[in-house]
Symmetry: C2
Subunit: 577 residues, 2 copies
Amino acid sequence: MNVKRYLPLMDWLPGYGRSQAVNDLVAAVIVTVMLIPQSLAYALLAGLPAQVGLYASILPLVVYAVFGTSRTLSVGPVAVASLMTAAALAPLAQAGTSEYLIGAVVLATLSGLMLMAMGLLRLGFMANFLSHPVISGFITASGIVIAASQLKHILGVEASGHNLLEIVNSLAGSIGQTNGATVAVGAGALLFLLVARKRLNPLLRAVGLAPRLADILTKTAPILAVLVTTLLAWQLNLGAQGVKLVGQVPAGLPSLALPSLDWGLWQQLAVSALLISVVGFVESVSVGQTLAAKRRQRIDPDQELIGLGAANVSSGLSGGMPVTGGFSRSVVNFDAGAETPAAGAFTAVGIALATLYLTPAIAYLPQATLAATIMVAVATLIDLPALARTWRYSRPDFGAMLATILLTLAHSVEAGILAGVGLSIGLFLYRTSRPHSAVVGRVPGTEHFRNVLRHDVELCPKVTFLRVDESLYFANARFLEERVMDLVAGEPALKHLVLVCPAVNLIDASALESLEAINERLRNAGVALHLSEVKGPVMDRLKNTDLLANLSGEVFLSTYEAWQRLIGQSVAQRIIV
Amino acid sequence: MNVKRYLPLMDWLPGYGRSQAVNDLVAAVIVTVMLIPQSLAYALLAGLPAQVGLYASILPLVVYAVFGTSRTLSVGPVAVASLMTAAALAPLAQAGTSEYLIGAVVLATLSGLMLMAMGLLRLGFMANFLSHPVISGFITASGIVIAASQLKHILGVEASGHNLLEIVNSLAGSIGQTNGATVAVGAGALLFLLVARKRLNPLLRAVGLAPRLADILTKTAPILAVLVTTLLAWQLNLGAQGVKLVGQVPAGLPSLALPSLDWGLWQQLAVSALLISVVGFVESVSVGQTLAAKRRQRIDPDQELIGLGAANVSSGLSGGMPVTGGFSRSVVNFDAGAETPAAGAFTAVGIALATLYLTPAIAYLPQATLAATIMVAVATLIDLPALARTWRYSRPDFGAMLATILLTLAHSVEAGILAGVGLSIGLFLYRTSRPHSAVVGRVPGTEHFRNVLRHDVELCPKVTFLRVDESLYFANARFLEERVMDLVAGEPALKHLVLVCPAVNLIDASALESLEAINERLRNAGVALHLSEVKGPVMDRLKNTDLLANLSGEVFLSTYEAWQRLIGQSVAQRIIV
């Protein structure tokens, strides 16, 4: 066993020097400032006490620095995983109860163990079954659901629901209880954040800041909103005016504890944990790869599974919630100059300090401010133009995407993603089950053969050349049988059928039996079956079978060779189609 | 709507003449003689009263003659569908009760309606998801379970169970109660049938019969066993000696009745009905296609669904059980000279006559004789060499086959077939998710490009040519990203990457985004991305996208063109691998 493979830390730690430490430290300070409000907000989104978000931003970051392969990924709570956590726990317990908290810890631990198992078994490819349109549709729909779920905090009303229909219904019933002071804080923070996003950056550049620094400072705007509204809430005693505050948060670092070992609970959360794992992994890997590529570094997806898995297990052990690599934070970390995962470990120190010394201030932080932070953050997730782009490029992909969006909005995140995965696999199988095939003829005077429907080619009624443009496997094996038998039924003079196979990358056992059946049926009908342009690896496997021995015709290296042998120049009959 | 498409009868009935009628009649007599014991035996196998098998062999045959497209398929009860019927009904009711009978009728009706719906929606391709190894493994395992389930009738003991483990366990407990007279009848019939199968055919040929006639008569041997043992049972009063007889069978034709409309029952039977439909359809279509091809006829799978569906619905309406096209009966029908589906209708008349006049004799028929008939018939289904063949040709296919067999034997027919389908789809996706790709170089002095690992080719450190041998879709899109980024990370001098795409039949939306991401990442790394040999239809779709506009490199018609443009003859560096 290669220990180094499982400890990517060994790649950079031995040569770690002063200049890298300084760069990592600067990045860590900026990311910490960004992560404090995010971690509190995503904990509330998940239905958990605010400190759980902080706990999930300490130990997991250190653990990821040891086991992760991305140099710049910023691990911690993220919006979509938090929504999925809330959806997974809702059927089990009421938010705020200790059962709910126990469930969150189990969910983090279980999804961490699943990720680690997938990594050790090298099952990273499983993430591939989430097609881009499904992921994109799912994240867009999740963004909409998350934004809608935060409206109650901005309005200061009670509402519930885990899909758009439920949330809208619930809001419609409680909109009358809107609290003015809360709206003032929430809408104010929202407006500030929206303006900051649009105007702060040009402003900072205008006053002479370097563009990169301006970009980074713009991303830290939420901490300003947090500071101002917290101060206001404290000074104006907004809590007494009905503005919900985060409230008493226990000071101090999380204590380590084993998660509940209730087997029934683990079973109930298994599917949710798997979905959170896979979605989180896909999000992490895509941002990690994008950033690594900019510096011609690379990440190892199987080791990433182990790194993220260990981070989640450590999150569970330290009273946290599911974590993964966040998109915008990682970009900030990268742009701020982080060079190694040590930046993540330094960020963890920053969050630990906040947990120790900032909790009294956090008590006065209005929930509406956090809701505004979330809404602005998830707005970037919502990508409706992707629907139009996908529609233009591919209708089947669009169908899978739309189904994912609609089911996520109208039913649940789990139904949405499962339907999307099922539909995209089904559509792919359907597409390949009716492969393109063409009767080809000889382009006069050449050795080339082209589709008779598109080109003027030479044909011979006694010999048909059929080109198949797909690997042959169980889903299209019978289709091939039908295609061939239809051809033969329609051409009474036929004596030879040549299957032209340059695009056949695989012939599985079903297709082999179909070819044997075709050979047998053609023989009964007095037609010889020939093959041409069979690829090397495919031919190697066919040599182990009876097909070649029983073949009523021959195997030709090139289609032109078959033409010469079976027809000859003289009898060819020119047909202009 | 084209009425004729849904009434294949119109193809042959208008020209139906005397010579065809004679041929059909002869075939019908022979098939009737074969079908009487089979229909009784399969009804008992399904746990139903013997007459249900007869009922299922009257109306369904007439209905199939109207709606089916195979000229020679012999529809009726078959072994595997009967086993599946027993397995489906076992959890609902005790065999022999009226609830059980009601269930069988609902199962036939429901699977008929499903088949018709699939036909009208042209969903015949769904049957393709049953790969050959899964079907073959399933039928082998079913044959073993069926043969084992009949042992109790041969031994004259009580036993139960719907998988091999249960049956063997149950038999082990009751073997002490073996009834001598029953064993004498059962083992005698078994021996006779086995000998008849091996020796009767050569004997008949030796006495001068035509080979085809000898083949046909050999297949009717079971009726001889039935006649002799029935006579013995009657004369020797074997019933009093503990030999179980078929017993009183109501004389007369079945009465028509609507099936139970208990919605709960329909829901409970839905999955079983679907599996029976699909398995029966696959069995029918493969024998139908084989026979049709011999006469250069063809069958229409979507219309077959309608024909088989209507036959099953009519079976349900007339108190029958699920039916489908049987393999050996259809071959006999064909060999006996049947020319049109009228032969099936004539067979129905024969069975109707048997129902009217032969039931008093059937009462004395020993169940052991029917069990022997079943065991000999299913012996031909068991194809263990197929396991070795599949192992040699393809390990993944072998895995799916073995899982199907083991689960069918050890758990249930439904678990076996569902696991097989799931596994074969999963394995196909896995295979295509790691497509073959090769870095290619120029064969010196030619325009050809081959794998650098297999051939002596020219390379250039500034330009890499990567050929991908698979359609690009969601399951392998990320694989391509990783492959490309690994390549780039390993070659610091690289300036150009050419993707060579002659085997890419499809680029779905996920792969398109991956290509866009690759293009972007390569641009950041200072590498230009080029494409070559993109197929026409793939190129047509790419033209609607931003990829081509944003491409950092060019699109070349041929790889050689890319070589000339990017390298030129002078700088090429020969590398002998």
